[in-house]
Point group: C2
Chain length 216, copies 2
DNA sequence: GTTATTTCGTAACGATCACTAGGAAATTCA
DNA sequence: TGAATTTCCTAGTGATCGTTACGAAATAAC
């Protein structure tokens, strides 16, 4: 059985200069991975535009020129932070395609979102859902990039459901787009609820409530 | 039967100086209501922080000092725009409490959200859900204000469900917090989907999918 | 040791941010 | 008409935005 291409790994590779092949010159005086992680946490909490370079350099422990030599500009740093966010421990595509059934795929995706929304060492909510909800015209391309990433997850889930219909796992009258869209809506809505203070237990029950749409 | 207080009308009254009782002095050279409406549309599209005063004055057709004399500062203008957004044609509390059943309340609320998310003359999505998802520390109070408004709607719906349990309209084992939270999550998630390009038909089906959680 | 290459911190760049003096203009009331 | 009041526009305020010259410092190759 052929697995579809994991787009998120590709994205991580596209943006990732995690170990650039340098041969000469002064070495980096900071750990690039931990600096990126700190940047991710800040973008996660305050979003793309509201996070200033002053905030970033403070959290990353480096000066603005170091940010630009190591990561490019603010936009590239953010996109790499998003790729870092999506890169582990399990990518959405892995969660969907490793599940034994389409229903389990949706359930696992929802529960993974709950865990991500309510982590102890991370800000509440989902970076992909909240960090560029609304932004200025200057950041329209960043907004579109995140929308594309969200769309990729939804497409991946919808395709998984469509395959389940073909194999007879789900009834032929199943509306794959509707079910996938509902799961995505709940995932993104739970991010807001988490930011508004909802705890893990409440979100878990909401996810279970959403799965009741899958009962025959 | 006593109806709960409609908090949204109170909010609108709190912020509303729509017709301040002036007796002397030079009159306003612009229509305050339409200027507020234009500001609301801009906040709706780009959010609170990403909408600059320069953008606002351009859209409202007035100069910065006029904004400050008529509306206070940017924060007050935004909150009044939110109150304007929530004030009509039907407030969420009206939709919930006018419905014959708790199930109809949820259904009507979801469908009203779909209509609001996909209006022809308004930006896609929901202003309440998207305009301050993530913001800087300086706007934390605005963020909290919107979270409070969202929480009021959720509480209103949950109370409606609790009443339905008491009257026997819904079974006693019903989890009111879960059902209300699920509806709120879908509403806020649909806002993101609408911003990402989902049309009215797709959102309507998603809302219908969410209501399947209410089947016995 | 010399050269080439890269990163370092300091200090600034122009642009834009939300916001406001200050005085002229327009209204009401006497 | 004259005084009081309020809004008008012009032109700016200081602060912060993302970004970058610039020269010193640190490494590898020779």
């Amino acid at each position: 059985m052929k697995h579809p291409v994991n787009c998120f790994i590709l994205i991580a590779m596209k943006h990732g200069n995690l170990n650039p092949p340098r041969k000469t010159g002064r070495p980096l005086s900071f750990d690039r991975a931990t600096a990126l992680h700190q940047a991710m946490l800040l973008f996660w909490k305050h979003g793309y535009e509201a996070t200033s370079l002053s905030d970033l350099t403070k959290a990353m422990g480096i000066t603005p020129p170091s940010v630009y030599t190591a990561f490019g500009d603010k936009k590239q740093l953010f996109l790499e932070a998003v790729a870092h966010y999506l890169s582990g421990p399990l990518t959405p595509a892995q969660i969907i395609n490793d599940a034994p059934t389409a229903r389990a795929a949706a359930e696992n995706l929802l529960n993974a979102a709950v865990l991500g929304d309510t982590g102890d060492d991370t800000p509440p909510g989902c970076l992909l859902a909240s960090s560029a909800q609304s932004c200025s015209a200057a950041a329209a391309d960043v907004q579109a990039e995140l929308a594309s990433l969200r769309g990729t997850i939804e497409t991946c889930l919808r395709d998984r459901i469509s395959r389940a219909i073909e194999t007879g796992e789900m009834p032929p009258h199943t509306d794959a787009e509707m079910l996938a869209g509902h799961v995505m809506a709940v995932i993104q809505g739970m991010s807001t609820l988490a930011r508004d203070g909802a705890n893990r237990d409440k979100l878990t029950r909401i996810a279970a409530s959403a799965m009741r749409s899958w009962e025959e």
